[in-house]
Symmetry: C2
Subunit: 150 residues, 2 copies
């Protein structure tokens, strides 16, 4: 009896979870979710890097993992801002589409800094990794100010 | 002259950025930042997976990248909730430390689901990947409800 009740409770929980999953799935734009996922991955790795390079005390063994993580995230971004993907729950400003050359340049700045950071981390150059991290953090911030809603 | 002004503006921007970097670094706990970074990476990969498996239309080529990404993030978590790391800007509830066995079990549930998801994605089993994704999303949600502040 207890087992049956426990199973019923579990089944209900699973059903609710699946329903919530479907409901959430319906109200979202795949293109927007994709790019938000990629940027969130990159941001998470930047936070991990902050724990090591800025706050100091984070696990130094994770340095290359996080540095590569930012770069790999960017490499999976693809065509993330196609025309029409400005509608929905997105912080993307309209000028991404109206000032595309400027936006692409901002993205390139971040990518270049991410490459430098991954290379420095791989080479075990902690000071250079930190410098590249600062440059990258600045590139992220600059792009957010120009192209992301608060 | 224009070049000089542009350089001065750039130098100012870099200085401000570095100052902001240091200021942010001072007020944060490395242990808390570390675990927030890891969970943010995992959450980002889950969002990427949602774009493919739930919202549908996200880049399917990214399936193994995201599935492995969640697992790899968990594998870099380490001893992320040591005693004393309950103070600071953290959403960690006190019962992480007072109900540790329950917390560890919740983490193990998520990890087990992440392993299953990565294996299913590697094998190209999309339906199984989706099932494991749902299980993992449920495990994340359950742990957040019990152990994370809103």
């Amino acid at each position: 009896m207890i087992k049956t009740l426990a199973f019923a409770a579990l089944a209900t929980a699973v059903t609710l979870s699946a329903a919530a999953f479907e409901a959430r799935a319906e109200e979202n734009n795949a293109t927007i979710l994709h790019r938000q996922g990629i940027y969130k991955v990159a941001a998470g790795h930047m936070t991990g890097l902050r724990s090591i390079l800025a706050a100091k005390g984070g696990p130094v063994d994770n340095l290359t993992y996080h540095a590569n993580g930012v770069l790999t995230a960017f490499q999976h971004l693809g065509d993330a801002f196609p025309p029409g993907s400005d509608k929905g729950e997105t912080k993307a400003k309209d000028n991404i589409w109206t000032e595309r050359a400027k936006f692409d340049k901002a993205g390139k700045n971040a990518y270049t800094a991410a490459v430098a950071m991954a290379e420095a981390a791989k080479a075990g150059e902690k000071a250079e990794t930190r410098d590249a991290f600062k440059t990258l953090a600045g590139a992220c911030k600059a792009c957010h100010e120009d192209f992301r809603k608060d």
